[in-house]
Subunit: 99 residues, 2 copies
Amino acid sequence: MDGFDIDDIDEVIHGRIRLGIMAFLSGAGRADFTSLKTYLSATDGNLSVHLSKLEDAGYVTIEKQFVGKKPQTTVVLSEKGRKAFDLYLAAIGKLVEGG
Amino acid sequence: MDGFDIDDIDEVIHGRIRLGIMAFLSGAGRADFTSLKTYLSATDGNLSVHLSKLEDAGYVTIEKQFVGKKPQTTVVLSEKGRKAFDLYLAAIGKLVEGG
C-alpha cells in the first residue's frame, strides 16, 4: 500500500460512465455520440450529463455538424484529457500492481 | 477496447472511498477503524456509510470489542471480498494494459 494513493485518482475520470467514455476515446481519440451511447448502453440524457462534466474539465470537446439534414455530435479527446487519462491509468495501475 | 468492459467493474468496490478501504484491507486483511479513517482522511460518518455498503455486500465483516474500557472496531476482509477485489483488479487491469 505504499504506491497506491486514492488522492491520485481523478474523480472526473473515475466515475464509471465517464471512465467508459475516456477508455473508448483513448483509442481513436474521437467518437460519435451514437457509438458511445451504444457502447455504454446509456440514455441520451445520461450520456450528455457525463460528457458535460468531461467538457467542463477540458478533457473533451464536443463538435456538432450536419451530415446532410441529420445533426451529428462528435466527441473529441483533448490533449489535456489524454494526459489526465494517462495519469489516471498510472495511479490505478499502482493498485493493480499491488502498489 | 476489446478487453476492457465497464460492465465488469464492480460498483460496490469502484467508489473511491470504498476502493481505498478495499486496497488498504487487501494487504493485512484487517484494519482498525481509526487507521482506516486516518488513511482515507474520512469522517466517522462517511467511513461508516461506506463500510456498511461493503458489509451489506458481504465483502467485509465488522468486529467490535473493548480494549480495556475503550471500544475498538476492526474491519475484516472476507473471502468473498477478496475474490471480488481480485475480479475488480483483473477488470481494471485490462484498462491499464490498454485492453
